[in-house]
Assembly symmetry: C2
Homo-oligomer: 326 residues x 2
């Protein structure tokens, strides 16, 4: 099978590429070719199959980004939350026109590829005391969330029309992200674990009791692989899934950090940021996520394991990347 990852140079894109390269298969089928597409040529993993790396604009998607014969497309290409809030035109262009370009390319292929789309918890709004059932309406409190919810609609419609076969995963806030702080409003949820483990100070823009719906990179990759290979024949018109993340709090995250690295949480400085708080405080802190379980999406590990997994999987590379002595 041929697989494409749009946004293949990003955090999750690279994790998926590495996993596919390691396994050599997806859903039990051997991988014949992997294409990675991003704004600039994405890094290629060592793999037992050919890997193409292509740079370009997702809105003017080159045919080579989704070659003829592709059966799975991971569509992760996006402008993230705080950036889409700061630049309305850019968010609309990449998150909507880019998704249209993906639909058009899949339609042109005529072979109805599986598309795994990363939507977001940011497409919902709710207060800090909410637990959202699967049938909750998406009433986004930010442009990123509105664009993700609309892209879900377009992809589900394209799926119904037979252009493609989509599974949209509304990912929780993924922690702990490696690398550097980014323009996602949720960036600090990773930073408050990652930066202290690097020996660096970091700012916490919300209160310690702030509740958040999270998942680990390991779990996100596991869900994305499942979405790429699961049976969709019984999904009907509803192609969007709230996967079973975990609801945690800043205090609980810092407690896990302390348990793994005593004293590390002293690097977390409380500096209120109204702009960031305004965005993330509309994101629901918990979901029932029942439908996902019946569809075979795996349960989440505890927060302590999330912190340990970052150390195992990403701490050394993050240090090297940022020029910090190991």
């Amino acid at each position: 099978m041929k697989i494409s990852i749009l946004g293949g140079g990003g955090f999750l894109g690279r994790k998926i590429a590495a996993k596919l390269a390691k396994d050599g298969t997806l859903g039990g089928k051997p991988i014949a070719e992997l294409t990675l597409f991003d704004v600039v040529d994405p890094p290629k993993p060592e793999a037992p199959f050919p890997v193409n790396a292509i740079g370009g604009d997702v809105v003017n998607l080159p045919d080579s980004a989704i070659p003829a014969g592709t059966s799975v497309v991971f569509h992760l290409a996006a402008v993230v939350s705080a950036q889409a809030e700061a630049d309305y035109d850019l968010g609309r262009r990449v998150n909507i026109r880019g998704t249209d370009a993906v639909i058009d390319r899949c339609r042109a292929l005529g072979t109805r590829p599986r598309v795994v789309f990363t939507s977001s918890v940011a497409s919902f709004s709710a207060d800090q005391n909410s637990i959202l059932p699967d049938n909750t309406r998406q009433i986004p409190g930010n442009s990123y969330g509105a664009q993700k919810a609309a892209a879900e609609l377009f992809l589900a419609d394209a799926s119904r029309r037979g252009f493609l076969d989509v599974v949209s995963l509304r990912l929780p806030t993924v922690i702990v992200r490696p690398g550097r702080p980014n323009k996602a409003a949720s960036s600090f949820f990773s930073a408050i674990v990652r930066e202290p483990l690097l020996g660096l100070d970091t700012e916490l823009p919300v209160g310690d009791d702030f509740a958040v719906w999270v998942c680990s990179p390991r779990r996100a990759v596991n869900w994305l692989m499942h979405a790429a290979s699961m049976d969709t024949s019984k999904m009907g018109l509803d192609r969007s899934i709230d996967p079973p993340g975990i609801s945690t709090t800043v205090a609980h995250l810092l407690q896990a950090l302390e348990q793994v690295s005593p004293g590390a949480s002293r690097h977390v400085k409380r500096v209120a940021d109204e702009t960031i708080a305004a965005i993330v405080s509309t994101w629901p802190p918990a979901f029932e996520a029942l439908h996902a379980r019946t569809l075979g999406f795996s349960a989440h590990e505890p927060v302590l394991e999330v912190v340990r997994a970052f150390i195992e999987d990403d701490l050394a590379a993050t240090k090297a990347d940022r020029g910090i002595a190991v």
Copy 2:
């Protein structure tokens, strides 16, 4: 105040223009100027204020379609359901890119005009036994509905950002439409009343027990006027309204027709149409519509009055239009 009607040459657009021309005011404020925009120059009503009629492409919206100083925009410009289903590219272009153009023009004005957007019951899917609460998720079973639901998201986001101030009305199937059958999948719901009253045969593509959520043109215009002048300050992020239509059946409609014009229902020929049935059978037949009532949207009149109103308001003009002797 200056008012624009995009889709001002269409059925509802002309009704709104006529009502504004007759009243000379909207929400108690005198109207200074009315601009009608459509694919071809819309007809101008006789009015106590200047009326501009402009033809063009909504995607390349001329600034003159929403002049500087406009405080209310009725955005009715759309590709209808069966047409959007038959021509995916056209539907996406007009229903999505067209809405983006409206957002961009309002944003450029900088005066946050009220935008009244006509969304649709077609953005939901449900079986014939459903009664939908206000918080129901939109899971569209047709491209038109998907595009309308996405446009609601974009307009609500633009509203949140302060580009405009939207109220989206998810209109029921509007009956009885004057003129000729059109490309809306719901066209037959009007045709089974209108055509018999013209002495013409018409085809019924669904069973007599088929249930449908409808409103009259009079009620739709009344709701649209209310949406244009109501206080939106307490609406928050949710800018979409399910107005209080009525749930009726084909049999009930034909009974009302018979009561008004005995023998007329003999013109209705049962000819099953799977394509039309497939689209309309995913549209919910009933809504609770509680939120709309608290926001002051008026209750609906009985079906018998809907048939009588067509005769009073539109039958003569429809006969003249179609060259049928009065």
